[in-house]
């Protein structure tokens, strides 16, 4: 009996050891589904950094990272080193902005946030807020536009944050200021775009301004350094487009050629380079998100990267697999398109990978 007891005890101990081992071994394997989902695109890009893990609200969705643009001291893509970034995400009751950075100890800090940005009155086809990261000098900078003609809103707020290892988020513009005070006519802004400044120069902001009587003007401005004031550039160009309804939110892009897009049962994109006779680009049926320096038009609508040439002919369309377009920025003298990939990991934390590809190679994706 004693022997049987010993056998039973040994069996129980062995079973306990095996069960404990199984529990210890029963861990989630390292795996990032989002990484594989976006692999077709990221394979052709350069990973320029990663950031995380960042703890956000468990109800946060639509999370994206907008890292600071490379400063003028960065002259090659291998020198780009992402250590921080603005985090934009949806959370009840609106959108939120925060700034995450890696401190001197290598730990990720999540600075104070700008929240909530109410989504009341938002038109589902347009972003109610547009987040434009601007040229990095001594701080990370981002302009938050809020444009809603129906609500008579056209404001901007400049957010700045220290570069790692510091990272306090502040707002030189204070509360969102009306853009009307920054344009000479004092008219409401219905659309905006930004073109990257070359060779460390300031980014060029373009505003599409309406005067309420069917006359619009294109307005160019810049932000220099941390100056809390937009500086007008050149003389506003007056345009007249009776086909475009007034008091409508526009997607507006301007460089060598200027485009205007609005939603009316479907996206209608106009080439307004010739102010007097806008031409509709029938090949464009998606919301345009960026006009690239090479003249191509980029859409990321429906998580699909669609590229159009300047005449509106579709060049390619690829699933993005959750990859998010950040902006176009110069690295040295070469314009790059930057993307970030948000990934949720254990404990609900978020991590981000940042990728870049020369704009000139976008057509080869």
């Amino acid at each position: 009996m004693r022997a049987l007891g010993a056998v039973a005890a040994a069996s129980a101990a062995a079973a306990g050891i095996i069960a404990t081992s199984l529990v210890l071994a029963g861990c989630v394997p390292p795996y990032l589904e989002a990484l594989d989902k976006a692999a077709r695109l990221t394979h052709q890009m350069t990973e320029v950094g990663s950031l995380g893990a960042v703890g956000l609200s468990t109800t946060a969705t639509n999370v994206r990272l907008l890292p600071p643009k490379p400063s003028s001291s960065v002259t090659s893509i291998s020198q780009v080193n992402v250590q921080s970034g603005f985090l934009v995400f949806d959370d009840t009751p609106g959108e939120s902005v925060t700034y995450a950075y890696r401190d001197s100890g290598g730990n990720i800090q999540n600075a104070n946030s700008l929240a909530p940005l109410s989504l009341a009155g938002a038109d589902g086809h347009y972003p109610l807020y547009q987040y434009e990261v601007t040229q990095t000098t001594t701080t990370a900078q981002m302009v938050v536009y809020h444009m809603d003609p129906n609500g008579a809103v056209d404001t901007a707020q400049l957010l700045t944050a220290g570069l790692p290892p510091s990272g306090s988020l502040s707002s030189p513009l204070g509360a969102a200021a009306s853009l009307s005070s920054f344009n000479t006519a004092g008219n409401p802004v219905f659309g905006e775009s930004v073109m990257p400044g070359a060779s460390g120069g300031p980014d060029l902001f373009q505003w599409f301004v309406g005067n309420g009587s069917g006359v619009f003007e294109q307005f160019s401005t810049t932000l220099l350094g941390t100056t809390a004031v937009f500086n007008s550039v050149g003389t506003p160009t007056l345009i007249s487009m009776p086909l475009v309804p007034n008091l409508l939110r526009f997607m507006y892009y301007s460089a060598a050629r200027s485009y205007l897009e609005y939603y009316s049962g479907g996206w209608i994109c106009l080439d307004i380079t010739s102010n007097a006779s806008p031409v509709q680009l029938a090949g464009i049926s998606h919301r345009i998100d960026a006009l690239l320096t090479d003249g191509d038009l980029l859409s990321t609508e429906n998580d699909t990267l669609t590229l159009y040439d300047p005449n509106g002919s579709q060049l390619l369309a690829m699933p993005m697999g959750g990859l998010r377009f950040c902006y176009e920025a110069y690295v040295g003298t070469t314009p790059y398109c930057f993307f970030s990939l948000p990934m949720q990991v254990q404990h609900g934390d978020w991590i981000f990978a940042v990728y870049a590809i020369p704009t000139s190679q976008m057509r080869g994706l």
């Binding site: 029963g26 861990c27 390292p30 077709r40 990663s50 995380g52 990720i108 609900g348």
Partner: protein, 438 residues
């Protein structure tokens, strides 16, 4: 009346005399029977000596009533007597040793010992259930070859006729017994002190037999090998042959001239069903390499459904990830052992089926190398269970994201040991499962 070789002990004889076939000649057992002993049960023997060149087998005979609807004790005595009489009427029949009416032991080992103590070299248990349409169950064991030779049931549509029981021939039981227990060759049979006898072993050519002689015996191309051994004596041997499961056999050598070895081919394919890290299912096929204790295994583990303790609030985990493995290994233990150890190593490939994305090789950890140390434990038949320790080295081209993928875990990547830029090692991986040999 020919070859009536049975002898009945006096008490049984008194009881059974009225039922004996008329005219049968009976005589007591020879007192000089070498296998006999003081404890020996009643012997049934023949008056006629066996042919000079043959020696009959000695069969311990046990008859029992069935558990349900069996004969009464008186009827059982009659049936037993009838059986012994019928057996005695056959040429070359084994020499019966009647066990009487004592309870026959339940275990095989005890039964064998009882038979040996009774001077028998084999035993048969005949169990009769029902008399109207009886079922006769027969179980017989050959002590010389250490194996069960008969295990069957015979059903009769007509019952025993007790009035005319002397005409019962018991062909359905006796004929198989005669076939299984022919007389031994006299020159190899010895009831006296041990003397050399030649044993011919029949086996697959090339079989190596150990345990019978100082040097291993090798079965020749003809499939036999001879060995001179003292007889009678008990032996155990082990036979190994390339491509066959090793055979272990016990042998009580006492007259048999040949020993055929039952050799079973090694399975070339085994199928696994298992759980990795406790709770992620997988399957594998193991291909054995004949002539060598080597094996190759291909398999996969899906992480589509499983349970993990570090997945946050939910223990249930579903990842569109599959891990394919190729393993080359070697068995450290012989195939016939109930516990068989093995080791191996091989590459693994991780493939991903992300929702809405293309099938792709995993970006975070595309491949790795796995080591395996495992043990198989016999369960039943060809089914075994196994447990494997499967530590792995994982290559990652994205060491920063690999570390970040563990989230805010205080920098810990447990259970992985991060070794950037080479990859990572997971030292706590286990696989348990079932393995079936085809």
């Amino acid at each position: 009346m020919r070859n009536l070789r049975s002898i009945l002990a006096a008490p049984v004889l008194l009881v059974l005399l009225p039922f004996l076939a008329q005219g049968q000649d009976r005589s007591p057992a020879p007192a000089s029977d070498a296998a006999g002993s003081a404890a020996q049960p009643q012997l049934a023997s023949t008056q006629s000596p066996p042919a000079p060149d043959k020696a009959p087998r000695r069969l311990l005979f046990v008859m029992e009533g069935g558990f349900v609807g069996g004969p009464s004790s008186d009827q059982l005595v009659i049936l037993k007597r009838s059986f012994l009489t019928a057996l005695a009427d056959r040429d070359d029949a084994p020499e019966p040793v009647d066990f009487g009416s004592k309870p026959f032991p339940g275990s095989l080992a005890d039964r064998n010992k009882t038979a040996r103590d009774a001077g028998a070299d084999c035993w048969v248990l005949v169990r009769v259930s029902g008399l109207g349409s009886p079922t006769i169950s027969v179980l017989s064991y050959d002590l010389l070859y250490n194996q069960i030779v008969l295990d069957f049931s015979a059903h009769r549509s007509e019952g025993f006729s007790m009035v005319d029981i002397s005409r019962e021939r018991w062909d359905d039981v006796i004929l198989p017994l005669l076939k299984k227990y022919p007389p031994l060759v006299a020159r190899a049979y010895n009831r006296g002190p041990p003397a050399p006898a030649t044993l011919t072993i029949r086996a697959v050519p090339g079989t190596v037999v150990t345990g019978l002689s100082p040097r291993p015996l090798t079965v020749g191309p003809g499939g036999t090998v001879d060995v001179d051994l003292p007889s009678p004596a008990a032996y155990s041997l082990r036979a190994t042959a390339s491509g066959y499961i090793p055979t272990q056999a016990g042998l009580y050598l006492n007259g048999q001239a040949e020993l055929p070895l039952a050799q079973e081919r090694s399975p070339w394919l085994k199928l696994d069903g298992s759980f990795l890290d406790g709770f992620f299912p997988g399957v594998a096929a193991t291909f054995a390499l004949p002539a060598l204790p080597l094996f190759a295994r291909v398999g996969f583990t899906t992480f589509r459904a499983g349970i993990a303790v570090n997945g946050g609030d939910n223990l249930a985990i579903s990842l569109p990830l599959t891990q394919f493995t190729l393993l080359l290994g070697i068995y450290l233990s012989p195939e016939d052992r109930p516990t068989r150890w093995y080791v191996g190593t091989g590459p693994l490939l991780r493939v991903s089926f992300p929702s809405g994305g293309p099938f792709t090789i995993d970006q975070l950890i595309p491949f790795g190398v796995q080591a395996v140390g495992g043990v198989e434990l016999s369960l039943v038949g060809k089914l075994k269970t196994f447990i494997e320790y499967t530590p792995g080295w994982y290559y990652t081209p994205l060491p920063d994201l690999f570390a970040l993928s563990f989230g805010n875990n205080g920098g810990s990547t447990f259970p992985y040991l991060n070794l950037p830029p080479a990859g990572a090692v997971d030292l706590i991986e286990l696989r348990i499962g079932l393995r079936y040999a085809l």
